[in-house]
């Protein structure tokens, strides 16, 4: 069996950086910090400040319509967690993230493997593959709403030609949820496929040649070479797209509006509704902070898995 060991990219970079800092004179060090300071300050202003202010707002009843800015402690959090929509919304957010990310990873690996092979017009196919990703999520969601329309929808037209049936995609809970996942997977898999393709191209051909000499077939080569070496990339991208799924709401906004009922109301969509539809900034901030906790959990879990994957390599 083949084994590979990759050097930790972190450990190899720390030592030289420390010695460079030691060698610098105080004057140059001040200059270096001064040069970096504007960017850091800008980043603090655009990232840390909004975060801290959102956290602060979440403890207030703040509505520009009602002219309120009153400290109410944890009331927004209590209300958010007691809202009858919250369990359904969290359940669908978990379902959407898990199924969509799972499908995207499996399909993206398959796409990457296909696009990594040599065939005529490969460049064109690679470019066409990226088209769904290059389109706006709102445009795709709106177009999908028409595609799933009972009478005029392309999807139903195809189904009707074969079965004589016109399913009510956006009325039935299961099919509406499936439709949301399907549209999201269709839009985002292509990009993930290209990322995995770059990962595949970083795997040395010698490993496959050695495996072939050892008698490994394609499936074994994939299982023992491709997959382990691609795993850190799969996990890191998995974290990235999982967080994006938890925070995304565009497709739901344009396709189902969270319906039927609240069956496809992602938790992030609730934050949008409270912030921009009814202008309850305090309540929306509390939902956003809960979302942050979820994202933090997803991120830390992913980070833990990534470290384990690196350790195994």
């Amino acid at each position: 069996m083949l084994k590979t060991k990759a050097a930790s990219p972190v450990s190899s970079r720390v030592a030289p950086r420390t010695s460079i800092l030691r060698r610098l004179s105080t004057r140059r060090l001040v200059l270096a910090y001064a040069l970096v300071a504007p960017v850091v300050l800008w980043r603090l202003a655009t990232s840390i400040y909004p975060f801290v202010y959102t956290a602060y707002l979440s403890f207030h009843d703040n509505s520009p319509v009602r002219h309120t800015f009153k400290f109410i402690g944890l009331t927004n959090y209590v209300n958010a967690l007691n809202d009858p929509i919250t369990p359904t919304s969290l359940e669908f957010t978990a379902f959407f993230t898990t199924v969509s990310v799972g499908m995207q990873i499996v399909l993206a690996v398959a796409i990457a493997l296909l696009l990594n092979r040599s065939f005529p017009l490969r460049g064109l196919v690679r470019a066409v593959n990226l088209l769904p990703w290059a389109m706006s999520a709102i445009v795709i969601g709106t177009a999908a709403r028409w595609m799933f329309d009972v009478d005029y929808g392309l999807v139903n037209d195809i189904i009707w030609r074969f079965t004589g049936q016109r399913p009510l995609w956006l009325v039935d809970v299961s099919s509406a949820r499936f439709a949301v996942v399907l549209v999201d997977v269709w839009k985002n898999t292509a990009f993930l496929g290209v990322i995995f393709l770059s990962g595949l191209q970083g795997i040395s051909a010698e490993l496959y040649e050695a495996a072939k000499i050892d008698g490994a077939d394609r499936l074994r080569s994939f299982w023992y070479i491709t997959l382990p070496l691609l795993l850190p990339l799969i996990i890191s991208m998995g974290i990235f797209i999982s967080i994006a799924r938890v925070l995304s709401f565009e497709v739901v906004y344009a396709l189902t509006g969270g319906g039927p009922g609240t069956a496809t109301a992602l938790f992030s969509y609730l934050a949008y509704l409270q912030a921009f539809r009814v202008l309850n900034f305090g309540y929306a901030s509390a939902i956003s902070m809960i979302l942050f906790a979820i994202v933090l959990f997803v991120g830390l879990t992913g980070f833990f898995l990534l470290r384990r994957a690196w350790a195994k390599l």
Binding site: P64, V65, R66, H67, P84, I85, N116, S118, G123, L124, R126, A127, V128, L130, L131, A134, M135, V139, T142, A143, W146, D149, V150, D151, Y152, L168, W169, L170, V171, D172, V173, S198, L200, Q201, I203, S204, A205, Y208, E209, K212, S221, G257, G258, G259, P260, G261, T262, A263, A265, L273, F276, R277, V278, L279, N280
Partner: protein, 460 residues
């Protein structure tokens, strides 16, 4: 095994192909825009009704501007028929010397609402006057984002007695202050296909029971007796309001026995009587309008503005579409009314010029120009004008409603929290319509949200 490397050359080649692909994708046919969900439709050009139902692509007009020597104002107006609007703008600039930059508002109601909310909440000074709906007048008025219009009314001697008073007092004012001046009326009337009625040998129904019977007779093959828009993007809220109101309830009083009766009746129209399609919970105004143009429906209780849009295609619609006043419900025969009006942003730096705009567009002859696309003007004195009746075919029906007395129409219960109330009602009633919960649970869950809102805002 050979592993292909990504060379600079192949990278550039792929990038170029991707860009070409994206460029091609952007040249693809435009997605049909959603029609205005809260009230009447967005603009409709000449529409050919074909034998097969085909979505009609409604072109979005481009913005334009005129230049004047006395300054310039920025006006946000819905994607309406800009030919008639351009005439209004040209006349304004010619008469006052004030230029107008016409910004086309997003066609989708919710997108447009968010567009205006973001601007006003941030204190943006770009917008001077804008096209304002019932909800926005109360929400933005309460927020202090709109300029009270009483001084404008006085300055330009506008006689508000010529407007339906419910439009002035109930949906354009909040806490005694007038925040917009209506220019276009929108009242829900019952459209019907005269040819289908003749074919089935039926007359416009007078009660809910008759409505079901007539609708059953009109339903056949791919045609349904009645069109219902149950999509929870504002349309369902309007449907809940007009049906519950006739039964003595309201969207903010769903726990009223009348409300429950109306909601059950509404669902039974498509689930039990099958006189409306099973797809009702996903139908919005846009898809229903497409269905109407495609011969799918025989009746439709909706905003009268759609009438003008239908009749734009005179060849097809002549003598085939008419309207009747809504049948009697368990408690009354009222229908819902609303309007569109001009409001001035409190952040405008050119309020005086914006006031001139409001004063100018309130004049009867200018209002007539603005309604050329088919909407009935807000001034009642114009409803009997033959020219108006020709352009806005629902005008005679509104006149009949006015003659029936002020109780024949009722505005929606607009408060600054109306959007919250609509959302709560729609989410829960939609769950009932899609068989996720029973009617009691739906009403109970909705009122758990609505009651605290009412207590908070109205002290009720």
């Amino acid at each position: 095994m050979k592993t292909p490397k990504l060379s600079r050359r192949s990278f550039l080649k792929t990038s170029a192909l991707t860009m070409a692909g994206v460029a091609l994708a952007s040249c693809a046919a435009p997605v049909p825009p959603a029609a205005a969900p809260t009230t009447a439709p967005a603009a409709t050009a000449e529409q050919k009704a074909e034998s097969k139902p085909t979505p009609t692509v409604i072109p979005t007009p481009a913005g334009f501007s005129t230049t004047g020597d006395k300054g310039n104002i920025d006006v946000v107006y819905w994607a309406d028929s800009n030919q008639s609007f351009k005439t209004v703008v040209d006349k304004f600039t010619e008469e006052t010397g004030i230029g107008v930059t016409y910004e086309v508002a997003p066609a989708g109601y919710l997108t447009w609402q968010q567009f205006m909310t973001t601007r006003l909440a941030s204190g943006d000074t770009t917008t001077d006057a804008f096209h304002c709906d019932d909800f926005q007048a109360a929400i933005y008025g309460q927020a202090g984002w709109l300029e009270p219009l009483e001084p404008t009314i006085q300055k330009y001697s506008i006689d508000l007695a010529d407007w339906p008073q419910t439009l002035i007092k109930d949906v354009s004012s909040w806490k005694g202050k007038l925040y917009r001046l209506p220019w276009g009326n929108d009242t829900e009337i019952f459209f019907y296909r005269t040819d289908y009625f003749k074919e089935a040998g039926v007359e416009p129904p007078k009660t809910w029971e008759e409505l079901v019977e007539v609708a059953k007779k009109l339903t056949k093959d791919d045609r349904y007796g009645i069109a219902l828009s149950g999509s929870k993007t504002g349309e369902l809220g309007n449907e809940i309001q007009h049906w519950t109101n006739q039964a003595g309830g309201a969207i903010n009083r769903l726990d009223d026995p009348g409300s429950k009766e109306a909601i059950v009746f509404y669902k039974e129209l498509f689930s039990k009587h099958k006189v409306a399609p099973a797809s009702v919970p996903q139908e919005d105004y846009s898809t229903v309008f497409q269905g109407w143009l495609g011969d799918k429906y025989a009746m439709w209780w909706c905003w009268d503005g759609f009438f003008g849009a239908m009749r734009t295609n005179k060849d097809f619609w002549k003598s085939q579409v008419s309207a009747f006043l809504p049948p009697m419900g368990p408690k009354n025969a009222q229908t819902v009314t609303g309007c569109w009006g001009w409001a001035i942003s409190a952040y405008s730096e050119k309020k005086e010029l914006a006031e001139q705009w409001v004063g100018f567009t309130a004049r009867p002859e200018i209002m007539k120009l603005q309604i050329l696309r088919g909407r009935v003007p807000a001034r009642m004195s114009l409803w009997s004008d033959p020219e108006v009746q020709d352009q806005a075919p629902s005008a005679p029906f509104l006149e009949a409603l006015a003659k029936a007395g002020p109780d024949s129409v009722k505005a929606r219960p607009v408060t600054p929290s109306i959007q919250e109330i609509y959302d709560a009602a729609e989410q829960n009633i939609h769950s009932y319509l899609t068989d996720q919960v029973n009617v009691e649970t739906a009403i109970d869950n909705a009122m758990k949200k609505i009651k605290p809102i009412l207590d908070r805002d109205m002290g009720s």
